[in-house]
Symmetry: C2
Subunit: 148 residues, 2 copies
DNA sequence: ATATGTGCAAAGGTTTTGCAGGGCC
DNA sequence: GGCCCTGCAAAACCTTTGCACATAT
């Protein structure tokens, strides 16, 4: 089924080529949907799959996939960029992140809570919004439990 | 009046010392309230004021001021950390950022739009929220004007 | 043939760390 | 003295870039 997904994505590549190495990077994201991978992590995972892709190529691939709107670049303030897959045919679906300050794990808030807010802000500040970014910082249930 | 503000902050330093160099870093933030300064920018501004502070000291000072909850560390995805002053006696006042994708300028949304949302998220996801981070990405009025 | 893709090494930038010297309590 | 503060240089990262070679169209 991952093969199928990649097939769907193929026509998005326009003038670029969906090479085996790029395909592998996409596969890695499809197999790790719940994670937010950094360049180095993708590099390591590609090694584990037996592939031989240079780190520079990983960086260039991530940049390309972001440009093609297949990946979202995220910044959790840990000193490296992280990426997540944008589901095809679901471009309007935004979500948010809960970042635990103790265990640093990241949870997803599936709802898009900002639809209404956006128009308020757009009008008040005369600013055309095309995307947003919402993080909640705090403590997850597990970490609060173990405090006790 | 900046002297006064720094006086107010003095008692926050606990076991740490409010040295002349740290005072200067605070001064720089008080004089640039509307900006979001990076370590390098603080470094350059301190030079312009005739001070001689090492870059490493700037980094260590910013880290300390963040720990003392005088500065907020921000991440706009431009590859460096930026900081902004947290107003004393106003800890509950949150605000948000509008980031123009064309001119990269950053505007402030003074309102805190997320008060209600937070309790919804806290209950639904069993996550204790202590802070949040909201960025709107888009195009400012000036850049939309000059498009035409 | 021409354009695109890739690896390697080097370079650039930010941030952290070790160490030695200086200052304050 | 002891603890903190600081500068300098080096190191550690992440990321980008140049160049030469390979590969696909």
């Amino acid at each position: 089924m991952i093969k199928n997904k990649i097939g769907e994505m193929e026509n998005l590549f326009k003038e670029y080529r969906l090479t085996p190495k790029r395909k592998l990077v996409l596969e890695i994201f499809l197999e790790n949907k719940e994670r937010h991978l950094s360049a180095r992590e993708v590099f390591r995972l590609s090694r584990e799959k037996g592939a031989d892709i240079g780190l520079a190529t990983i960086y260039r691939t991530l940049e390309l996939l972001e440009e093609l709107a297949l990946l979202h670049k995220l910044n959790f303030g840990d000193g490296r960029s992280r990426y997540e897959l944008i589901p095809v045919n679901d471009e309007e679906h935004h979500h948010h992140h809960l970042i635990c300050l103790k265990c640093t794990r990241i949870f997803e808030v599936k709802d898009d809570l900002l639809q209404q807010l956006e128009s308020v802000v757009e009008n008040k500040y005369n600013f055309k919004i095309v995307n947003h970014n919402l993080q909640f910082l705090g403590y997850c249930s597990k970490c609060r439990q173990s405090e006790k």
